[in-house]
Assembly symmetry: C2
Homo-oligomer: 388 residues x 2
Amino acid sequence: MRPVNIIGVGMTRFGVLADSLVDLAAQAAFEAMTDAALASGAIDHVCVGCQNPDEFTQRGHVSTHLADRLGLVPAGATRVETGPSSGASAVEAGFNMVASGAAEAVLVVGVEKMSEVDRGQASRILSKMISFEDEARYGATPTALAAMIARRYMHDYGLTRDELSLIPVKAHRNGAKNPLAHFQKEITIEEVCSSRVVADPLTLYDCSPTSDGAAAVVITSDDLARNVDVPRDAIQVLGIGHATDYFAVQHRHSLTSLSATVRASERAYQMAGIGPADVDVCEVHDAFSILELVNVEDLGLAPRGASIDLVKKGSLEVSGEIPVNPSGGIKARGHPTGATGVAQIRDIVLQLRGEAPPGLQTQSPRIGLAHNIGGFGNNIVVTILGAE
Amino acid sequence: MRPVNIIGVGMTRFGVLADSLVDLAAQAAFEAMTDAALASGAIDHVCVGCQNPDEFTQRGHVSTHLADRLGLVPAGATRVETGPSSGASAVEAGFNMVASGAAEAVLVVGVEKMSEVDRGQASRILSKMISFEDEARYGATPTALAAMIARRYMHDYGLTRDELSLIPVKAHRNGAKNPLAHFQKEITIEEVCSSRVVADPLTLYDCSPTSDGAAAVVITSDDLARNVDVPRDAIQVLGIGHATDYFAVQHRHSLTSLSATVRASERAYQMAGIGPADVDVCEVHDAFSILELVNVEDLGLAPRGASIDLVKKGSLEVSGEIPVNPSGGIKARGHPTGATGVAQIRDIVLQLRGEAPPGLQTQSPRIGLAHNIGGFGNNIVVTILGAE
């Protein structure tokens, strides 16, 4: 397998934005191509991670539309969709094109524009990613499923409501320093606990928002990474793992572990030739606060039930031993679903380059991990990046 | 790049079917896995080509749903979407996974279930793949764009309405012998010309139907192809080309040529180390009758304006020099959009194995080509297969 590098990254502000889906995608893409110092004619293929442009924006065929908008015709163009892990899956598709030798340079863009529909319609669109037959028809929503996991985790490990609130508080503390984050203000434990209950025990501040935004990365072979006009430290993609779990939560062996994270990370660690102890910084998929605890344990970064101890000790802070979500995570950076996985990888690249925003740069990381969940915990991609 | 083989194929009947999207996909997938004599545990990844499950069937997250339904969890699962070329793009994604060494075996399933919505709603869903800003807002539809191409082709090359009718007549003649085709009855030139005008000069019989159906292929490395329980002649994927064109037809240089076909086929021929003269059998994307003529010329199989002469001489018949669409093509086999590209490749595999249905087997073909169009002529994948 040929080595694969990320030589350029770009990202829009996340939030409720006026620009169209394709304009957002183009802004992130142009920034990534400029960052890569790569002529647009060098791009062989565009992979777009996007969950549902047809229903969120009433526009389809986003891959061709974007290739045209970017002036990349006749490059190939493909949309990749795995629910909210569409971004990481698009990076995986681009990785495979370069690793196989089918392409020298692939532009990967993750994008979603969710604010053109009202909140109820957004919920209906997003709920199509859970099982209709086993979940949605009985009134279940992604938030309700997350609440069930939170209740079980509290029962099994004694987690308290105040402890759980530490997760969004940390997310907002980091997001407040991230100039592209959807939410750039700190919150308190009291605010989390007293905010509106969405699905008991989860309150508004335990849940990620729906956002607009885009992120992009340029993936290339070694040859191309060395031959751009302004070469910079290339970041290597060391490993990718992608695994599924049973569609419906009720069919799974555990409520407090996502086995797809365990399988995907095992695969990614093996491919990268590293273990959890080698990871210096992570972005994990905290669509709901409880998931950050579950993810940290499933990734092998903490024993079962012990992740909250790391939170309380400050180990997951920017200055901690294993910084988790220095960007603010999905909770504070925002969650334009198709963009999230690419944004995580873009943020890890900045960390490895030492170019994170002031106050968010972790200490000389060499290996970073991005963890992106699709569906409700059943289509998960773990990507491991390394600085040279 | 590692050699990549197709060792199993499957397909449902195409037509208006009672089964659900995932049940159709599962039927084709199980047939392909059985044909491959491969244990389901050997599948590393499932790639699903599907244009728009959320709007056609009100169900989403089809990749995970299918992995679960097939008992393939924890294999990775990804949906690939490029409009009606989603099927070939999914095969391309699976090819890249095996070629790179990221996977040993990938199941690729193309599927669409279009009959749950009424005809008007289907048109609205499909029209999202043309440019809203430059085409749809002015009332253009894919059929109207095809009609414009037909008019221009008639003007430039003197094609007559009766000559154009030979294309659907040939499609239906072949489809009548294909037990899985949507339409299994012959039609006459008179019937084509006297059928209802959809967009002048195109009549009902110039246009492909909306269909339900699924097709599947199992893609593997050489090692795995040799080590299955019941090895059979593996068909090798010799080349894949994927190219875009400008989103809106009005921005293109020509109405009578799809430059994305030219670019994609150049790339595929180069990768395969062959030229058009080496192709023994093809399946091309005849969503509208006029496109078969355009495609044959763009693929380099006939000079400009001369493809109709090949039709009149019988060269494109099953028994001709260069058989085109022995399956009945999109016109008669049917067009469940996400399934079409995989069905074309499945049909070429059967041709190369010598296993086509009675009356449809071409003479000892060694090299076959599948040509799949996404959008309106702007996202095109050409796949070249070879028998050993």
